[in-house]
């Protein structure tokens, strides 16, 4: 080993840490040992839902803003992929190339999120929840009733991820790695952002908006900008979501799914960006396998009970439980994984 490479390893060690390295390696080799079903339906889907929930975690954890409109933001990106790209529903499907469609969809989602931020940023607490919930409900009903743009109740189907450099992203393993790359980028960006100037200022707004004003900051603009950043994350996840399912309809952006995203973020824990991914994994596993134990109609009861149990014992979700375990024993092994 040369000096330079050992220095690089040192830097990686301090920057990334042992836990991240172990988790990263696990996630990288996971599709090599897991079946296609586990790679795609469990791994890929958890990463996508986790990324949407991450966009909520950024706002709640760092800014104290509970936004229930993150799924709508992701949904808009998904709809645009169907409308601007190709679908088999016979409506729209402009057939634009993916490298135009994807940036456009994410940009539109980001803009949408910024608008939501501008509307919601002057409110606090329960009022922010009410406004964003209202936006989410409006978006759901709008997509269901509007046939000109969103093709109403039917939505769009037959949407396929592109083939890039000869790699067909519809195949489980490449798709998993795509989701992993997007999720990891967003995760590290959010982790890094906590100590950035904007991240600190955003936490300052959370702790005391009035004092931030008196220090020369505009809390309003900081909240709006946070929504913009969260919109980028949610938009990327929205593109993956429509590629994952191959279809998008009002049900994709329904209120029950909105609540699922909230549950995922809270169950996982909103104090650390890993939380949403842990929450998403638990949620997807329950959603997939609970049917073996209970009748499907009771799924929401089960989710609700698990949710209550976790929050009852740890307000900071599964990450909070993990932290407590780490404190009581030596933290030398990673145990959470998505």
């Amino acid at each position: 080993m040369s000096d330079a490479s050992s220095k690089l390893m040192d830097q990686l060690h301090t920057q990334v840490g042992v836990k991240h390295a172990a988790l990263g390696i696990t996630l990288l080799i996971y599709p090599l040992v897991a079946s296609d079903f586990f790679t795609f339906q469990i791994g890929g889907y958890s990463l996508i839902l986790g990324t949407i929930a991450l966009s909520l975690m950024m706002l709640v954890g760092y800014g104290g803003i509970v936004s229930l409109a993150q799924l709508s933001v992701a949904g808009l990106a998904g709809y645009l992929v169907a409308i601007l790209g190709e679908n088999t529903s016979g409506v729209h499907g402009f057939g634009w190339p993916w490298w135009v469609v994807v940036p456009t969809a994410i940009a539109a989602a980001t803009f949408f999120s910024g608008i939501i931020g501008a509307v919601a940023a002057r409110t606090d607490g329960i009022y922010t929840i009410m406004i964003t919930l209202a936006i989410s409900v409006v978006f759901f009903y709008f997509t269901r009733q509007n046939y000109e743009i969103f093709n109403g109740f039917t939505g769009f189907s037959g949407i396929k991820p592109p083939v890039i450099f000869g790699v067909d992203l519809i195949a489980p393993v490449p798709f998993y790695y795509l989701c992993l790359a997007v999720a990891a980028s967003c995760y590290f960006a959010v982790l890094y952002g906590k100590r950035s100037t904007f991240g600190l200022a955003f936490q300052g707004v959370r702790d005391n908006a009035r004092r931030m004003e008196a220090l020369g900051f505009s809390p309003f603009l900081h909240r709006v900008f946070a929504h913009v950043l969260a919109g980028v994350v949610a938009g990327m996840a929205g593109v993956l979501l429509v590629w994952f399912g191959g279809r998008i309809s009002p049900g994709t952006v329904g209120i029950n799914v909105t609540i699922d995203i909230l549950v995922i973020a809270v169950v996982g824990g909103i104090i650390h960006p890993i939380g949403p991914f842990v929450g998403a994994l638990v949620f997807v596993l329950l959603e997939t396998f609970a049917i073996d134990f209970i009748v499907p109609e009771r799924f929401n009861t089960l989710i609700g009970l698990v949710f209550l149990t976790i929050i009852f014992f740890s307000p900071n979700g599964l990450v909070g439980i993990w932290d407590r375990i780490c404190e009581s024993i030596t933290p030398n092994k990673k145990g959470e994984g998505v």
Partner: protein, 272 residues
């Protein structure tokens, strides 16, 4: 120690906003007929006030006299009902608080308004960053960052350097008051409003506070609300007595101290 913290490097390396050097010999703050009513309650009635550059002024008055309301009107925490607020000769009546702050105004609060989830160093960094711009940077500040350097100097100045990495929530009351004042000293202000800075401090801490106030660079003007006459009269050039939302009397500290009407009003309501 307190005498040396004037952030000398900041003057050399930082380009000050154009409006900060304006103003010349005119008043740093001017209030013209400022009134504030909450429903039928008149909290401020036609206040006229001028603060000259470097002037140190104490406001006395019983609870409910309108002292903090006056501060809120100056800083823009709420809109005033009528009148005009001018900073460095410019009308700022319709400007939000953060714009006034960027024009050289600072304030502290009677109850400490800090960022409990952040460290002492991060609190101070935000205070310096807010004035110096680049508030939306999504990158970590570099070690050579001007705002970061200024915040380190300020931590020394308010004797909190050793607590830099502690969470604000873990500080003692006295230390929180020190930080509260430190946040208002960021980057050479023109005028600072201190709202009862000595509230809840021990006699020794009051001594430290007086030392901080006396050691402020001469060009910085400040207005101080203080119930502790000892603190107020030792740092002020001029004393303003407020009563029922009006300026009741103003003059030199020694004259005000002796004034019979003031004594009756102030001490009467306080100890009566």
């Amino acid at each position: 120690m307190f005498g040396t913290f004037m952030l000398q490097h900041a003057d050399k390396t930082v380009r000050r906003p154009h409006y900060a050097v304006r103003g010349g010999l005119g008043p740093v703050l001017e209030l013209r007929g400022v009134s504030k009513a909450f429903g039928s309650l008149v909290a401020l009635a036609e206040i006229d006030l001028k603060i000259m550059p470097g002037e140190r002024c104490a406001i006395l008055g019983a609870n409910g006299a309108g002292k903090t309301t006056l501060f809120n009107a100056i800083s823009g925490d709420f809109p005033i009902s009528s009148g005009e607020v001018r900073l460095l000769g410019q009308d700022v009546t319709s400007l939000p608080t953060h714009d006034r702050v960027r024009r050289g105004l600072r304030r502290t609060y009677q109850i400490s308004q800090l960022f409990g989830g952040l460290s002492v160093r991060e609190n101070m960094y935000l205070a310096c960053r807010g004035i110096l711009g680049r508030r939306f940077s999504v990158l970590h500040p570099k070690a050579s960052d001007v705002a970061l350097k200024a915040s380190e100097d300020l931590l020394h100045a308010v004797k909190l350097y050793d607590q830099g990495d502690a969470l604000v929530a873990t500080l003692s009351h006295g230390q929180q008051r020190q930080l509260e004042i430190g946040l208002a000293l960021a980057h050479n202000p023109n005028l600072i409003l201190f709202d009862e800075p000595a509230a809840g401090l021990s006699p020794a801490e009051r001594g430290d506070l007086i030392a901080i106030l006396q050691s402020l660079p001469k060009q910085i003007a400040f207005v101080l609300i203080e119930h502790d006459m000892d603190v107020a009269l030792r740092v002020a050039d001029r004393v303003i007595m407020m009563h029922n939302g009006e300026i009741f009397k103003e003059g030199l500290p020694e004259d005000i101290e002796k004034d019979a009407a003031v004594q009756e009003l102030y001490l009467g309501t306080h100890h009566g």
